[in-house]
Assembly symmetry: C2
Homo-oligomer: 439 residues x 2
Amino acid sequence: MKKIAVGIIGFGTVGAGVAKILKKNAMLLRRRLGASIDLKRIADIDITSDRGVAVADGLLTTDASRVLDDPEINIVLELIGGIEPAKSFIMRAVANGKHVVTANKALLAEHGHEIFSAAEAKGVDVAFEASVAGGIPIIRAIQEGFSSDRVLGFFGILNGTSNYILSKMTEENADFRDVLQDAQKRGYAEADPTFDIEGIDAMHKLAILTSLAFGKKVAMNKMYTEGISKITPLDIAFARELGYKIKLLAICRGTEKEVEARVHPTLVPEDHLLSRVNESFNAIFLHGRDVGPTMFYGKGAGMLPTGSAVVADIMSLARDIVRGTSNRVSFYPPSGRAVSAINVKPMKEIRTRYYLRFAAVDRPGILSRISGILGRNQISIHSVMQKGRQNRGGQVPIFMLTHEAQESDLQKALRQIDRLAILRQKTMVIRIEDGMLSE
Amino acid sequence: MKKIAVGIIGFGTVGAGVAKILKKNAMLLRRRLGASIDLKRIADIDITSDRGVAVADGLLTTDASRVLDDPEINIVLELIGGIEPAKSFIMRAVANGKHVVTANKALLAEHGHEIFSAAEAKGVDVAFEASVAGGIPIIRAIQEGFSSDRVLGFFGILNGTSNYILSKMTEENADFRDVLQDAQKRGYAEADPTFDIEGIDAMHKLAILTSLAFGKKVAMNKMYTEGISKITPLDIAFARELGYKIKLLAICRGTEKEVEARVHPTLVPEDHLLSRVNESFNAIFLHGRDVGPTMFYGKGAGMLPTGSAVVADIMSLARDIVRGTSNRVSFYPPSGRAVSAINVKPMKEIRTRYYLRFAAVDRPGILSRISGILGRNQISIHSVMQKGRQNRGGQVPIFMLTHEAQESDLQKALRQIDRLAILRQKTMVIRIEDGMLSE
C-alpha cells in the first residue's frame, strides 16, 4: 500500500489537532484513500510542552529543515501562522517540490499570489481550506461546488471571537470590555485580541474568499475594516427592538470588474439565517447567480474542527499523489495570462442604509438641527426614536434609521453634526444589510 | 485548447437548465477549466417543445444512441429520471467508457451499487451532486470536505415540495389539501405528488447520503418512511406554542455498524437553524465527530440551481479528463473488498420523544384512561394540554409530549388507546428531535 509522508511545521493547537486526527482516524483515512498517511516529522521551536497528543520518539525536531528538505516527505503542513518565517518555509517546500497545506490566512491574504504562482510553476499544490472558517468546507464549495456559477456576493461571519463577544453581549446585556475579559479568561480570545475584535482577521479571510470567488487579486489596503469594540449594549438593545441583530460581517458583492469588499458591524434582520449564527460559530451566506442563495455554517476555529480541515486537504492532495496528478484546481483561473487585481469600490461610494445613535444634550430643537444637516446632505430619515429620560450627563440617546444613502454624504453630515455643541460623543454609525441579495 | 464533448439525454427542466448554463457561462467555464465544454447532442423523445433555450441546428435527436455511442462524447448527462430506461442508458454509457453525470436519486438509491461498481471497473466516473439537495454541494462536502472525519449523523430537509407545503401551512394556518392544490397550480408540486409528500423522494436522498457518509450499501426497504399528508394546522399551531416547528426530516445517526435511517414529520426546536429553513429550500445539518455541527442550506430544485450542480459535476470530470485521471474519489472506500450493507436499526427499537394528539370525546376520566395505558407501556408524560371547548363532533383535542420512549412501546400503547370507544380518530403521532447531536 502506498504511503504518503507528511511533515508538520508548527505544533500549536492546530498542529496538535492534526496529529491527533491522523492517529485516531488512521484506519478510516487509509480505507477511504487506499493509501496510508504517515506523519513523519513535527518541527517546532518548543518540543517539550505537552500538547495532549502522544507522538512517537524521534518525530519531534526543532529544525524545520528536517521537514522542508526531507526528500521522503510529500506534503508539508505550515501551521505556525504569521508572515515570517511561514512564508519562507512554504516557498522552500514548494521549491523542493512538496505540496503544502496551510491554515495561514494572514499570509495568503497578503502574499497568496506569489505563493500560488510559485506552486503552479513547480507543479505542486497549496491547499488552504483551514484558512477560512475552520471546519466549514467553503473553499471547496467555491472552487468546485460553484465552479459553474458566477458569485454575486457573500456575507460572512468569519471571526469566531467577535461573534462570541457579540452573542454574549446580546444574551447578557453586557458591556464589550467585560465580555472580552471573560472571553480572554476562558481562552476564547487572545491576550492581544486586536486582530479579532478590530476586524483584521475577518478582513484577511474576506480577501481570500474575494480573490477566489472572482479569480483576481485583491488589494487588502482598499478594503474598509472596522471592528466591534465600539458597540454598546444600548445599540444591541435598540437594534433588537427594530428587528435586527448586530453581527460583524465580511461583505463582498459585485462583479469581476468591481466589488464592494468591507468588514464592519452590521445590522442583520432578525429573521435572516445569519442572525441565528451565535457563539463562536462561523457562517457564509453566498449568493450565486444560478444557484441562488446558499448558506454554510459550522465551527470557525478549534483544535479538531480546524485540524479536520487540514487533514481533509491532506486527503485531497493524497488522492492526487496516488493518481500521479496535481494542479487539478487552481486558485486563479489557469488562463496563462497575468492575474489582474479586482477594483475595490472606494468606501465613500458605497450606498447602504444606516443606524445612527446621537448622544445629544436634551434640549429643544436638537432633532431639527440634526435632521436639517442630514437632509442637506441627501440623507433621508426612515425612522427616529428618542428613548427614556436623560442620563447623568444630561444626555439622551436619539436613534435613527436612514433610507439608503451614500457613505460620503453620511460622513460629511456626521462631521457637521459631531461639531455641534449639543453632541456629547461621536455619533455611533452601524451599517444595515437588509437584502443580502436574497430576493 | 482541449474540448470536452458532452451529450444530454433528457431535455426536461434540468436538461434545459444545463443547456442554458453551458451557453451563457461558456466563457467563464472555459477560463476556469482551461478547456472548453462542447454540448454536442441532446436526446429526448420530444424534440419539438420549446424549452426556453435556443440550441443549434442538428443538436437535437430522438435517438439516445446518438449520445451513448458517439465516440467523441466524453461525458453523458442522464437527466430523464426514473429507473428505466435511465439505468440501461447509464450502463451503456459506462460500458462505452464515458463518464456520466446524473441527477437521478431514485435510480442511485436503488441501483447505485451496481452503477458505481461498473463505473469503477471501467475506470470512469459517475457524478451525482444534483441528485441530493440541488444547488447545495453536500455530496462534495461529505466526500471531500469531511473526508478526514467520521459522520455521527445528519438531519436533512431534502424535499422542497414538502417543505413548501409545511411552510405555507404554518404561515397561513391552512389545510394540507388546500396548500397542496395551490402548490400544484403554481407548479411547485407534481400532478401526482405522492413521491414528494409521502417522503419517498426524501428517503431516496437519505439512502444516498447514508451510503456515502458510512461507505456502505443501505437497504431502502428497511428505512422507515412517513410523509406529511396527515399533518393538520392544529398540530402546527400547538407545536408552535410549545416552541417547535414541524419539518419533514430525513434522519440518520449511528456508526458503520448500525444506523437509524428514517424519514418522517418531526418537531424541531424553534431556535434550531433547521426550523428557519422555509419555502422550498433544502438544508442538511450534519454533525461530524471532529468538525462538530455544520449546516448547508440552499435551493433543492429548479432549472438553474439543479442545472448548476450538473455543470459543476461536468467541470469536475473535465478537470480529471484534462489531467488524464479518473476515479479520484470513489463512492465506496476503495478497499478492494466487497461492499457490505449497513444495518438499519428496526424502527421499533428507536428511542425518541413523541408529540401525541388524541381526538377524544369530552368525558370525565378520559385523561386518566389514556395516561394509564401509556404508563403501563413505560411511556412517561412530559406535559399535557387540553385546549378549548369541544367541537361539533363532541371531540376535544388533547395534546401530549412524552419523555424519551421506545417506538415499540409507543405503538403498543396507541393500539390500545385507539381501540377505546372515547377515541374518535386515530391518534396523531409526531416524533421530536431535540438534540440533533448538537450538544
